[in-house]
């Protein structure tokens, strides 16, 4: 009964100044709209970039690196066990750049339940011969099927058929920028010089675009067997194994395990791409900061309007108190006013925010870097709507809190005698 009465009084005070009320509510609406729009857009972008990295990058990369040996002969000697020893200027030992026992490693990975798949790779440096000029380059010898299944290889082969790499012997897919530099058309044959000095003709079957120009100038893809042949190595010669896991969060742990198990260097995606994680979280932080700033500004608007309303309605408050409304009743009336502005404005804001997201989602976005993206990315994560809704209520409550307290403390005697 009491609450219903307070609602009635709050409502009539609200509608008595409905224009101001509406302005205050639109302040909240605007800020919630922008909050939702901004965060949805930002997180959409983050997801897009993360997916680019996650889709194209192995979760764990196994490779052989020529490093100084961890243990020196003196460490192994029993007679110096309780001594400290310092060995300076340790040089890497000469070793082959391949992963040892690669077939066994691949079989072990295939049997591991945590692993989604593993793709072997052979990388080698070459020179592309263009007339009299030699351009440095890097050929990635890949297992075409595995590469496509695990790392969406086909997505960045923009011209030509990527399967030709497997089906046509001695074929190569060049980076678009590199191909332009060499003026190599699809179907042309280019000459490359291998590290051992042999010249090999390779047929261009396609172009790829990774989104990074410098990379496209240098890198190219061939099948793993073509690459092994270029190097004059056996089919067991593999320099990298790229592993994709079912659960990406296991990567750091498994990388350590594989390092000891297979005796190869293992680097996980979290370590290799730490800067992306940082970038994402900072972008999110900025959008939260902007969104919350907007809300606080809207909160000040509500605060002002409630303060004005209290000055205007001083008489009414005094008489309500004189006729039996307690301070807490008056307090509740003004909190109700603030909250109804917040809830109404907030709901509308959530709705408009969704609309804004949908609008951004439909704006065409063409970029050479991302061939499979046609519109701006948007995330429709309900989390942002929840946060926006809760924040709109909290800010309006806080904005209403002080004016309400002031109203509840109004002394009716002063007002009534003042007339």
């Amino acid at each position: 009964m009491n609450l219903k009465l307070l609602f009635g009084v709050a409502r009539s005070l609200l509608f008595a100044r409905w224009k101001q009320t509406l302005v205050a509510a639109f302040g909240v609406t605007f800020s919630i709209t922008m909050f939702i729009g901004l965060l949805s857009f930002m997180s959409g972008l983050n997801n897009l970039l993360d997916n680019l990295i996650i889709n194209r990058t192995p979760h764990i990369r196994l490779y052989k690196e020529l490093l100084p040996s961890d243990t020196q002969p003196v460490d192994l000697s029993a007679s110096y066990n309780d001594h400290y020893n310092f060995v300076r200027s340790v040089r890497p030992k000469n070793d082959r750049p391949e992963i040892q026992n690669s077939f066994a490693v691949l079989n072990a990975l295939a049997a591991d339940k945590r692993v989604l798949g593993a793709a072997p790779k052979v990388t080698t440096q070459v020179f592309y011969n263009v007339g009299q000029v030699n351009l440095t380059g890097l050929i990635n010898g890949i297992d075409v099927d595995a590469e496509n299944r695990l790392f969406a290889f086909s997505e960045y082969v923009t011209s030509g058929n990527f399967m030709d790499l497997k089906n046509i012997p001695n074929s190569i897919i060049l980076g678009k920028a590199g191909a332009e530099k060499m003026m190599a058309e699809i179907g042309d044959v280019i000459q490359v010089t291998t590290p051992s000095g042999d010249r090999v003709p390779l047929k261009v079957v396609g172009y790829f675009e990774s989104g990074i120009q410098e990379l496209d100038k240098v890198q190219s893809y061939a099948s793993i067997s073509t690459c092994q042949r270029l190097l004059g190595e056996s089919s067991a010669y593999i320099t990298d194994i790229q592993i994709k896991l079912h659960d990406i969060n296991l990567a750091p742990e498994l990388a350590k395990e594989y390092h000891t198990l297979f005796g190869a260097e293992a680097v996980d995606i979290q370590t290799a791409n730490a800067q992306f994680e940082t970038g994402s979280s900072i972008r999110t932080l900025i959008s939260y900061a902007v969104g919350i700033t907007l809300l606080i500004v809207a909160g000040f608007g509500i605060y002002n309007i409630l303060n004005m309303m209290i000055y205007e309605k001083m008489d009414s408050i005094a008489i309500l108190k004189a006729t039996g409304f307690s301070g807490s009743d008056v307090n509740r009336i003004f909190i109700l006013i603030a909250l109804s502005i917040g809830i109404f404005g907030g709901l509308l804001g959530l709705l408009f925010g969704f609309g804004l997201s949908a609008l951004i989602d439909n704006i065409p976005f063409d970029t050479a870097a991302l061939p499979n993206i046609t519109t701006y990315p948007i995330s429709y994560n309900p989390k942002y709507y929840l946060i926006g809704g809760v924040f709109s209520i909290i800010t309006t409550y806080l904005a209403g809190y002080f004016p309400s307290r002031k109203a509840s403390k109004i002394d009716p005697v002063i007002i009534i005698r003042g007339k």
């Binding site: 009539s12 008489i319 039996g324 301070g327 009743d329 009534i416 007339k419």
Partner: protein
């Protein structure tokens, strides 16, 4: 006779800007059905006394009993309840809420009390308006009414919870001769027909002279109390 309101040695100081004693040991009582008035020159403390008696001002020394209950040390919420239930107010200015219709204005303290359902409260409000002869204006907004009509609505509002006492602070101060007369007659009728206790502060000696008892104040103290 039952004492509706009893003031015992009420003393009050104003502290700002300097300490001034505004009320000195004011003691008196109002009985059931009595129509009393307080008169005195401006600044003699009569309004101050009324606000203490109405529980709105709690900063005083002495004891105050309303309907036999001591008001000292009661919480703000409880005092609000006392005002709601036991006291009806009529001020110099009507203080009606323009956002609500006339009948709704009268109903507000009744709904706040919550003794009757909303329908019943509305019915009672209409009865009160009928008694005061303004039932025809029930659905208008207060700002569409004349000054005299507004004051009658304020009286109806004061009556809605059947208070033990009605307090008035210059209720005719803003009204012309004719409307003052109407308001006085209403008070008189309430006192005589409905046995309603009233305590009215006024500086209109003519008005006061016609009440049951005149309490005259000067310099914060009662100098004369004369029953008619």
């Amino acid at each position: 006779m039952t004492k509706i309101l009893e003031a015992h040695k009420i003393t009050k100081f104003f502290h700002d800007p300097v300490k001034i004693q505004v009320l000195r040991d004011v003691s008196f009582s109002v009985e059931k059905g009595e129509f009393a008035s307080i008169i005195g020159k401006s600044g003699c403390g009569k309004s101050t006394l009324l606000y203490i008696l109405s529980t709105m001002d709690t900063d005083y020394d002495g004891d105050l009993y309303i309907d036999g209950v001591m008001m000292r040390n009661k919480k703000e919420k409880d005092l609000a309840r006392v005002r709601n239930e036991k006291i009806g107010f009529v001020f110099q200015f009507h203080y009606l809420l323009n956002e609500f219709s006339v009948v709704r204005n009268v109903m507000l303290p009744g709904i706040k009390l919550g003794k009757y359902s909303e329908e019943e409260t509305e019915h009672r409000a209409m009865e009160k308006l009928k008694v005061l002869g303004i039932a025809g204006e029930a659905l208008k907004k207060p700002n569409q009414l004349s000054g005299g009509q507004k004051q009658r609505v304020a009286i109806a509002r004061a009556l809605i919870n059947d208070p033990v006492i009605i307090m008035g602070d210059e209720p005719t101060g803003n009204l012309d001769k004719k409307n003052s007369e109407i308001v006085f007659d209403i008070f008189k009728e309430l006192s005589e027909v409905y046995n309603q206790s009233l305590l009215i502060v006024t500086h209109d000696t003519e008005f006061a002279a016609r009440t049951n008892r005149v309490i005259e104040m000067e310099d914060g103290a009662i100098i004369r109390m004369q029953a008619r």
